[in-house]
Amino acid sequence: MAQYRTQVRIIADVLRAARDMNVEGEGVGVTMLLRRGNMSYSRMSKLLSELVGSGLLQELNGEKISKYRISEKGIQFLAAYHNFEDFAQSFGLRL
């Protein structure tokens, strides 16, 4: 059976991508996030605005395109997500 992703899981996937792909510390472009986030451009744009607004992501304005970097608050969110995902999976549930 196909498993749908909950909103909190999508957020965690995007934050993980922003953390793991930011190798050079210059942020991650939307294209890379789209590839890992597996969603449409319009949906990703809306989500990125929300994540920047809530302080989970930092937007780095480049010359041509914006890039995104995970914030300290985002790292804390991912740690909490990981802990509680573990907790929920113990009960056979998904976050």
């Binding site: 059976m1 909190v8 740690a79 909490a80 802990n83 573990d86 907790f87 056979g92 976050l95």
Partner: protein, 207 residues
């Protein structure tokens, strides 16, 4: 007296699991954790009411309403309902859920009493929770998921014995046995909470 003490232990364990789940809700806004927390709040309330009713019966000539017994069982059954349907909502009416619903009327209407019905419903919900958790184990292969399935199975066996204790009122040992089985099951369910208490996981999110 042992039974009442065990009921109060059940209150502590249930509310501890509910507390961790609620903290998870605050951190992640997860609906799965909302249902899990709700389940254990109801289970905790159920054990609390049943424990208080049991203690009340130790005092001679103290009138204790049978409604309190029903209320305790109702809380407990509601807890098992949320525990079972955490999975049901997760799998969105899978074939397993349909099969479980087909079993429902057969089991439910075998007992005429409200208390009987609640006990049978509890058994049904826990059984469904066991099946779904075992199925989750087949997917994620996590030993702790298997452990939780075993804990739920023990609680399920306890609810079955509880139902038997209502049918065979002259067999006193059944009443104590069902509480012991449920408490062992609950203590097994407590193991994921230990990860937060002693395993280095922090409830506020930082590792």
């Amino acid at each position: 007296m042992v039974g009442e003490f065990l009921q109060l232990l059940g209150v502590f364990v249930s509310f501890s699991i509910a507390y961790v789940a609620f903290r998870g809700v605050r951190q992640t806004q997860s609906s799965s954790l909302v249902r899990l927390a709700t389940a254990f709040v109801f289970l905790g309330l159920g054990f609390a009411v049943e424990g208080v009713v049991g203690l009340g019966q130790l005092v001679p000539n103290l009138p204790f309403s049978s409604m309190a017994v029903v209320a305790g069982l109702l809380f407990e059954t509601t807890g098992y309902f949320f525990l079972a349907f955490s999975h049901a909502i997760d799998v969105v009416m899978s074939r397993r859920m349909t099969a479980a619903l087909l079993m429902f009327p057969v089991i439910t209407f075998t007992g005429p009493q409200l208390v009987d019905i609640l006990s049978v419903l509890s058994f049904f919900f826990v059984l469904y929770g066991v099946l779904e958790t075992a199925y989750s184990y087949l997917t994620n292969r996590r030993p702790d998921t298997l452990l939780i399935a075993a804990g739920l199975a023990m609680i399920g066996a306890g609810t079955f014995v509880q139902w038997l204790s209502l049918l065979y009122l002259n067999v006193d040992v059944l009443s104590l046995l069902q509480i012991i089985m449920k408490e062992i099951g609950l203590l097994i369910l407590f193991t994921p909470v230990l990860g937060f208490a002693v395993g280095g996981k922090r409830i506020d999110g930082a590792v």
